[in-house]
C-alpha cells in the first residue's frame, strides 16, 4: 500500500495473526483486512461496525442484493479491488455470477426486479453526481421499494463510498480470481466484524 505503516506498522500479535491467516487460508491477508487492523480505534473498529450493520444487519434486502449494491457502487467509483471482491461475494450469495456480471455490464437490460434496478440506478446517480433529488427517490419508491429499504441502500452506499476511496487512495493490491472467491466465502460466513 502507499503508506509504509499500512504494510509494516502492525504489532507483533497482529503480524502473527496475519501469518496464521496466510498459513491456514493459503492466501495473504487482503489489504482491505489489513487496513482495519491499523490503529483500529481511529477507523477500523468503527468502519467494521458500520459495514457489518449495513451489509448484514436486519433489512428487507437480501445479503446478495446488498453485496450487489456494493459491487455496483464500486463500479461507478471505478474501484477495481472492491468490484472484484463484491462481484465475487454477490455472485456466491445469489449462486448466480452471471446475474451480477449482467448488472455491472448493463443495468437496464439485466435480469433483476424493477425495485432493485431502480435502487441501483439511484445509488449510481448519487455516487456519480454527488447529488440526488426527490424525483429520483419517488421513482424508486414507485417501483415498490419501501422507505426503509431506501434508507438501508443508502447505508450500503455510504459504507462503500468510504471503502472504495480508501482502496484506491491507499492502493489495495488486487487479488487473483481465486483469492477474491476465497475472500467472498469468508465474508458470507463471517460478515465484516
Amino acid at each position: 500500500m502507499r503508506l509504509d505503516i499500512l504494510n509494516r506498522g502492525y504489532s507483533p500479535g497482529t503480524k502473527l495473526l496475519f501469518a496464521l491467516i496466510r498459513a491456514f487460508s493459503g492466501y495473504p491477508v487482503p489489504d482491505a483486512a489489513k487496513l482495519v487492523f491499523y490503529r483500529p480505534g481511529f477507523y477500523g473498529a468503527w468502519a467494521k461496525k458500520l459495514t457489518h450493520e449495513a451489509m448484514r444487519g436486519p433489512s428487507a434486502w437480501s445479503v446478495a442484493d446488498r453485496e450487489l449494491m456494493a459491487a455496483y457502487v464500486s463500479k461507478v467509483n471505478e474501484c477495481a479491488f472492491c468490484v472484484g471482491a463484491h462481484t465475487a461475494t454477490a455472485g456466491q450469495a445469489y449462486q448466480d455470477g452471471a446475474k451480477v456480471r449482467a448488472v455491472l455490464a448493463d443495468l437496464d437490460s439485466a435480469p433483476v426486479e424493477d425495485g432493485l434496478r431502480a435502487t441501483l440506478r439511484m445509488l449510481g446517480k448519487l455516487t456519480r453526481d454527488g447529488k440526488i433529488g426527490a424525483e429520483d427517490m419517488r421513482e424508486v419508491l414507485s417501483a415498490g421499494v419501501s422507505h426503509q429499504q431506501v434508507e438501508d441502500a443508502l447505508a450500503v452506499c455510504a459504507a462503500f463510498n468510504t471503502t472504495d476511496r480508501l482502496a484506491d487512495a491507499f492502493g489495495f493490491q488486487l487479488l487473483s480470481p481465486e483469492g477474491f472467491e476465497a475472500g467472498a466465502k469468508y465474508l458470507l460466513k463471517r460478515g465484516y466484524r
Partner: protein, 125 residues
C-alpha cells in the same frame, strides 16, 4: 432475508434498525474527526470537508474526495515532502473519504425525506 440476520441484534434492545445504521455511521464520523490522532482536529475537519486544505495536500485530499481512482504516488509524495507524517496522512485520507461519503449519505436521506413529505402532501389533497 430478515430472519437470517436477527440473532445477533436481539441483545441490542429496541433501537430501530435504521437508527442503528445511522448511529454506526455517526460513530465513525465522530471518531475520525475527534478521536486520538496525530493530525489536529482542524486539519481533519478541513480534509473531511475538502475545504481550506493546505496547498501541499489539496491534490491528494481533492482526489480522495472526488476522483479516488486518480490518486497517485505523487499525491502522497507531495504531502510527505511538506512534512506530513504517514500517520497524519493515514488520518487525513480517511477523513476525506468518510467526509465525501457522509455528504452523499446526507444528500440521499434528505432527498428521501423530501420525496416522502411531498408524497404524503399529495395523498392528503
Amino acid at each position: 432475508m430478515r430472519a437470517d440476520c436477527q440473532g445477533s441484534e436481539e441483545a441490542e434492545g429496541d433501537v430501530p434498525d435504521e437508527d442503528k445504521k445511522r448511529a454506526a455511521h455517526q460513530a465513525l464520523v465522530d471518531h475520525v474527526l475527534t478521536g486520538a490522532g496525530s493530525a489536529t482536529p482542524e486539519q481533519r475537519a478541513r480534509a473531511f470537508s475538502n475545504a481550506d486544505v493546505p496547498p501541499s495536500l489539496q491534490t491528494l485530499i481533492g482526489n480522495v474526495a472526488t476522483r479516488p481512482a486518480q490518486v497517485t504516488d505523487a499525491d502522497f509524495a507531495a504531502a510527505k515532502g511538506s512534512g506530513f507524517s504517514e500517520d497524519q496522512l493515514f488520518e487525513l485520507v480517511i477523513c476525506a473519504a468518510v467526509g465525501a461519503s457522509a455528504r452523499l449519505y446526507e444528500a440521499g436521506l434528505a432527498a428521501l425525506a423530501d420525496a416522502t413529505v411531498s408524497k404524503e402532501a399529495g395523498n392528503a389533497t
